[in-house]
């Protein structure tokens, strides 16, 4: 990856972090409602993953979708506007935090029913194969989602039909407050690939470059026509499951320990050590991002509420 692209990844990661930090504040101020699941701590996963896709590759994920939206190229303005429920948001304020999307950027949402988007992702790959399009569908989901039946049906069918899907599990150790070992029969999600006779790989999800490499390999393997592939990325969310999580299920020491491998810190170190950028240059990016986020908040706050007609619009396409 060239320097420019590497710096762009840094920009994206910091942007995700700051957008969500501001989002958290706005939530506390009551300007954002509903459920909001922060991606803070997991930025390297979608950033490295999506950097490895071709523009025609489709991305679909769960409700923890702000980062994915930004990595797919949705402007912070639209993300922030959707969080505030404004008509300028990705979903005109009708979707909210959990339901951002932009098919034009090949980002297919933002889905809030755990695991339900896996069969849909499988179907997207089936449709593309049927329509003779040679793109790959990248489906992201959490560790907890691998225990629901939807996961099983989707992975089995994807393999039986040898569909071009990359299954990406973000293993952040918990499904809400239930740890992987308390919810899953196998400790490593990648091992579940065995039951579907598909490759199952595991990589460090806190190091964006490692994610990128693992994703590149996986995506190209899938594109080559060898069928579906399961990639597990080890990561951790620094914040609660969603806003207002009492966090009784984990110790602060554990959080502290993981915060030492902050994906932004790791990447920044990588960039400076490899002379891709100076601290000064990265500091500049940081402040540019702050300004970008200020503009996004400004944009969102001043954007109009959706008109009442919007309530009755788009129930049906015809």
């Amino acid at each position: 990856m060239n320097k420019k692209d590497q710096l762009e990844l840094y920009h994206q990661m910091v942007l995700i972090r700051r957008v969500e930090e501001r989002g958290a504040e706005l939530y506390q101020q009551g300007k954002i409602g509903g459920f909001m699941h922060l991606y803070i701590g997991q930025e390297a996963v979608s950033t490295g993953l999506i950097a490895a896709r071709q523009p025609n590759d489709r991305v679909i994920t769960a409700y923890r979708d702000h980062g994915v939206a930004i990595n797919c190229g949705i402007p912070a303005n639209q993300v922030m506007a959707e969080l505030l429920g404004k008509s300028t948001g990705t979903s005109h304020g009708k979707g909210g935090s959990m339901h951002m999307a932009d098919p034009g950027k090949n980002f297919w949402g933002g889905h809030a029913i755990v695991g339900a988007h896996l069969p849909i992702a499988m179907g997207m790959a089936l449709g593309d194969r049927y329509g003779k399009r040679d793109n790959v569908t990248i489906c992201m989901f959490g560790d907890g989602a691998t225990n629901i039946g939807f996961f099983h049906e989707a992975l089995n069918m994807a393999k039986v039909w040898s569909l071009p899907v990359l299954w990406v599990c973000e293993n952040n150790i918990y499904g809400m407050g239930t740890s992987v070992e308390r919810a899953s029969a196998v400790a490593s999600i990648a091992d579940k690939a065995r039951g579907y006779n598909m490759p199952g790989e595991r990589a460090d999800g806190m190091d964006v470059m490692k994610v990128y490499e693992a994703a590149k390999k996986a995506i190209e393997t899938v594109r080559s026509g060898s069928g579906p592939y399961l990639l597990e990325l080890d990561t951790y969310r620094f914040r609660g499951h969603s806003m207002g999580d009492p966090e009784r299920y984990r110790k602060q020491e554990e959080v502290k320990k993981w915060e030492e491998s902050d994906p932004i810190g790791i990447y920044r170190k990588y960039l400076t050590e490899n002379k891709v950028a100076t601290d000064k240059a990265l500091d500049e990016t940081d402040s540019e991002v702050l300004a970008e986020v200020d503009r996004a908040v400004e944009f969102a706050e001043t954007s109009p509420e959706p008109p009442l007609e919007e309530l009755y619009k788009d129930v049906y396409a015809d």
Binding site: S91, P119, I120, G131, F150, M157, E310
Partner: protein, 323 residues
């Protein structure tokens, strides 16, 4: 115009739409090699091949999810759920995904998909395999629910469903595949969301759909011999629900009976009756009667099962009550 069975009419619609539009394909359990468990897709696999007539594993959520995904990327899948009883295993994908994605993302996603399925009792299949829960699917905005009662409507409505850009649940009835009727050859569509007067009359309005139509028409014939002329209105679509012809008829007859095969409480009859009172209150001369299934899981034993299902006699009795 050919005189064919409901099964032939449905097959014809599928076949013609697949010939017309290459983005249309079928997927479901036993739709291919087997030819469809109700033989609706017999011969399709040999003609269209396995990619367009795709046999699936037994995984209802996977089947509906696959159809949703394929529709999102521009194809026009027609998923078959062997029976509506198995649709419960795909409930989330039908009511939470298919019915909501277009709205929730402000129209960015289109879901041109059809879920063909088969409902109904009367075949001694027992409680889990004999349901007619059409009403609970019609409950969800965002989904279109169609249930034809004649071969012509089956063909015309299925073609419209396949061409629609919205998710359509197309409910066939397990005991009506042999019903015959005149069906226009080739291009012929019936718009979704339009009720239809299947028999004209001025004494009483019988509102019904699907299997209920068969029963109601028989009852109407018998009543005619007694000089009672029933107007039979076939809803054809449960959502969108077209009350126009129902109200028009009711304002003429001032009496109505609603006939459905499903359970009575929280059923189709409840909705129709409520609307009639709301929208034609001044025309009401007698309480609207609901003819429906006894509220028990359907048993295997034939005598008991038939006792629980609505029969022609029940319609006759209801009509006599409202007159």
């Amino acid at each position: 115009m050919a005189h064919i069975t409901m099964r032939e009419a449905i097959s014809q619609a599928l076949w013609e739409e697949m010939e017309r539009d290459p983005s249309v394909f079928i997927l479901g359990e036993e739709v291919g090699v087997w030819g469809g468990s109700y033989a609706v897709t017999r011969g399709f696999y040999d003609h269209f091949g396995g990619e367009r007539v795709r046999d699936t594993p037994i995984a209802e959520a996977g089947i509906v999810g696959a159809a949703i995904g394929a529709a999102l990327v521009g194809e026009r899948p027609v998923a078959e759920l062997m029976t509506i009883n198995f649709a419960f295993a795909a409930m989330d994908h039908i009511v939470n995904e298919a019915a909501k994605l277009h709205y929730m993302f402000a129209g960015q996603f289109k879901l041109p998909l059809v879920i063909r399925t088969v409902g109904g009792g009367g075949r001694q299949l027992g409680a889990t395999h004999s349901q007619t829960p059409d009403a609970i699917f019609a409950y969800f905005p965002g989904l279109k629910v169609v249930a034809p009662g004649t071969p012509a409507d089956a063909k015309g409505l299925l073609k419209s469903a396949i061409r629609s850009n919205d998710p359509v649940l197309f409910i066939e009835h397990a005991t009506m595949y042999q019903v015959r009727g005149d069906v226009p050859d080739g291009e012929f569509t019936v718009p979704i969301g339009q009720s239809k007067v299947q028999r004209a009359g001025q004494d009483v309005t019988i509102v019904t759909y699907s299997k209920g139509l068969e029963i109601s028409m028989k009852a109407a014939d018998q009543l005619a011999q007694e000089g009672i002329e029933s107007e039979v209105v076939d809803l054809r679509s449960l959502r969108p629900l077209d009350m126009g012809p129902v109200l028009e008829s009711f304002k003429k007859t001032n009496r109505a009976v609603v006939v459905e095969e499903g359970w009575k409480s929280y059923g189709v009859g409840s909705e129709i009756a409520s609307r009639i009172y709301e929208e034609a209150f001044d025309y009401v001369d007698a309480p609207v009667k609901r003819v429906a299934q006894d509220e028990v899981p359907l048993p295997y034993n034939r005598t008991l099962e038939q006792a629980a299902l609505p029969q022609v006699e029940d319609v006759l009795a209801a009509v006599r009550e409202v007159l």
